[in-house]
């Protein structure tokens, strides 16, 4: 299938989320999309917001700081969504990611997140399978690595809770993962 009809900026906006837990290889996939000239989020807004909060606090964020951070991230996701008015675009994480990350820190969903997840809908969600099984024979590592796996699973759960049926992208090199994702895109109705 040619990508041209999807890349035509004159078409209606099509929004595809790329997400997954830490160490799922998301950055490499986003880099590959950029390298192929496919519109995608520049950088990771959530990380830039994190750094702003960290600089303001003078330390890393603690659980008590996460709600304010989560709201700012949600605001950025909504702005990106609304600013995208035509053609195809891959998003570096999506609004329902907030469910998973908040749950990881023991926080429940809040009304603004619930409302945004209902209003701002994506056309498809690609979840990158982890590049590692996060099992280590070393007990110390094992305990910490399990947290990475837990974040990943909570993110998946968040998308299901928001009514999506994610497409899982197998672990592979970034080029093959992008090809896999592009092959899943629905042919636009003309």
């Amino acid at each position: 299938m040619s990508l041209d009809p999807l890349l035509d900026p004159g078409t209606v906006p099509r929004r595809y989320v790329v997400t997954g837990g830490p160490s799922a290889g998301k950055e490499a996939v986003l880099d590959e999309l950029h390298a192929r000239g496919i519109p995608a989020t520049d950088g990771e807004p959530a990380r830039e917001i994190y750094r702003r909060h960290r600089d303001r606090l003078g330390r890393h964020l603690q659980v008590g700081d996460r709600r304010a951070y989560s709201r700012d991230v949600l605001e950025a996701f909504v702005a990106e969504y609304c600013g995208h008015t035509s053609g195809l675009r891959f998003y570096n994480r999506g609004i329902p990611d907030g469910y998973g990350w908040d749950a990881f820190f023991g926080l429940g969903p809040y009304p603004e997140l619930e409302e945004a997840a209902r209003i701002y809908r994506y056309d498809a969600v690609f979840i990158l399978d982890p590049l590692d099984d996060f099992d280590s024979e070393d007990d110390l590592v094992f305990a910490k690595d399990r947290e990475i796996r837990r974040v990943h699973e909570l993110i998946i759960q968040g998308y299901y809770d928001a009514g999506y049926r994610p497409i899982f992208v197998p672990a592979d090199e970034p080029g093959r993962r992008v090809s896999f994702m592009l092959a899943q895109l629905p042919v636009p109705a003309t």
Binding site: P22, S23, E27, L131, S136, D139, L140, V141, I148, D172
Partner: protein, 484 residues
């Protein structure tokens, strides 16, 4: 020391490898024949992150016993080279921003002195005892010291030009190799190197970019002489180590590894095939310790309650420090056990369940008989002089395992099938062979040779780097062995 008359029977079916040889140590022979090295180093690497389990002891004991067998069978000098993997993760934390795992190695957490203490705690006494029991000397090298050598770094840099080929065997599922270059400020590194990038590689070095959780973006330049720490993931580290070993034409390195590495080495071999020139060094895979399900015995899975201890799993099998006795008695038991395995290739090139090991160990003699003597090999011309009592001073360099040698210890000198038991009367330490011969009476060292000839002969056996370890003059007296 070892009861050689016990009647426990190990029954092993034949297999392809065992069917091809009469002696277990014959695995080393093809390369010995082809390369005619001056000596053989049996290399064994161990992560130093905690108390060893039985599998670790089997590998280490096998290395010493194989070295002993190589000496006797092939008349070649053999040592054990112990690689302490001090780049094992000491601590892990998740970056609060990305939740990428960051790790700190034992070396970065404890420093050189701390690593020395840890090695001493778990392995020094074990290795000294193994050296005593087998007459094989050993060397200890940490991974941190090895990666700092220009030769290792040069070997690593040489692989980077082929990274696009070797990344697939090193990471077959996705091709993304974990190459950790710790932050120069704090020593922490991204465990999976998600944001580590090779910026440039070329003659003389390579530049990398990485991100520290506390110190932000940083660059690292790796050259043969730079001090940037290279923490390579397991397969990559083994590739570089084995290629480095394969270049040494003086010492033949034989990699002694636990049986599960037979699977892992398939990938190392694939990576070798992608690189020019060298063939992998010979490897000997030791028996795996299995549970009743056929899975490898895993201490951590049992401790976490994910699997029950398998039948026959004694506490000391999971943690060798639980052995009900002192280090020497544990090592004697290991030498006995691994000796039985090595006695027939069919018994060695296979795996054992904990139940079967427990059954075999029931036949292990609970008490040792006679004296526990350190074994030392001697050329025939020197052995005969010891055996007839005319040579009363033996000269050695001070390998680590000879540090504790003292008056009253026993030495059994070996030559072929002959042996002579002696007791140490005195140990004198010198900085050079010259100084030793100036102080001791040369005719006690060798009654048939003048001083200068002795000096030349000794220096033919021990090069300057060995002499630099220090020189021992060991005064001995013959002992009549008690009847047992």
């Amino acid at each position: 020391m070892n009861d050689r008359t016990d009647a426990v029977e190990i029954i092993s079916p034949n297999n392809v490898l065992a069917n091809a040889m009469l002696r277990t140590v014959d695995m080393v022979r093809p390369r010995l024949q082809a390369a005619s090295p001056d000596r053989v180093a049996f290399c064994v690497g161990t992560q130093i992150n905690g108390a060893p389990h039985l599998g670790t002891s089997l590998v280490q004991t096998a290395a010493f016993l194989l070295a002993k067998a190589a000496k006797r069978t092939f008349n070649v000098d053999a040592v054990v080279r112990f690689g302490a993997l001090d780049n094992a993760p000491y601590d892990i934390r998740l970056d609060p921003e990305t939740h990428h795992a960051y790790q700190q190695t034992y070396f970065h957490a404890l420093g050189e002195q701390g690593i020395g203490d840890l090695t001493g705690k778990y392995y020094r006494a074990v290795f000294d005892s193994l050296a005593d029991a087998t007459g094989v000397d050993y060397e200890i090298e940490t991974y941190s010291a090895q990666q700092a050598t220009p030769a290792f770094r040069h070997e690593f840099l040489a692989t980077l030009g082929h990274l696009d080929q070797i990344r697939w065997p090193l990471a077959p599922s996705h091709g993304q190799v974990h190459l950790r270059l710790p932050c120069p400020q704090c020593g922490w590194a991204e465990k999976r190197a998600e944001r580590t990038r090779l910026l440039r590689t070329g003659p003389g070095g390579a530049d990398f970019a990485a991100v520290c959780t506390d110190h932000g973006d940083y660059k690292v330049t790796v050259t043969p002489d730079s001090d940037a720490y290279l923490d390579l993931a397991t397969l990559y580290r083994n590739l570089v180590k084995e290629r480095l070993a394969a270049r040494d034409h003086v010492t033949l390195s034989v990699m002694v590894k636990g049986g599960d590495w037979a699977y892992g080495c398939q990938l190392v071999d694939e990576a070798f095939a992608q690189l020019p020139g060298l063939a992998p060094p010979p490897r000997v895979f030791t028996p795996m310790v299995l549970t009743d399900t056929g899975a490898k015995l895993s201490k951590s899975l049992i401790r976490e309650g994910k699997v029950p201890p398998p039948p026959g799993a004694r506490p000391w099998m999971l943690d060798t420090t639980e052995w009900p006795g002192d280090t020497d008695s544990y090592i004697d038991a290991m030498v006995w056990l691994v000796g039985k395995m090595l006695a027939d290739p069919k018994h060695f090139y296979r795996s054992y369940t904990t139940a079967e090991l427990d059954r075999i160990m029931t036949a292990h003699p609970a008490t040792t008989t006679g004296v526990r003597a350190r074994e030392m090999n001697l050329y025939r011309r020197y052995f005969d002089m010891v055996a007839d009592g005319t040579k009363t001073i033996e000269v050695r360099v001070q390998y680590p395992n000879l540090r504790r040698l003292k008056a009253g210890d026993y030495i059994r000198f070996i030559c072929g099938r002959d042996d002579a038991l002696t007791r140490i009367r005195r140990v004198a330490r010198y900085s050079s062979f010259d100084e030793m011969l100036d102080t001791e009476e040369p005719e006690k060292v060798n009654p048939a040779s003048p001083r200068d000839q002795q000096l030349a002969n000794i220096r033919r056996i021990y090069g300057p780097e060995k002499e630099a370890l220090g020189v021992l003059a060991i005064e001995i007296e013959l002992v009549t062995e008690p009847e047992t």
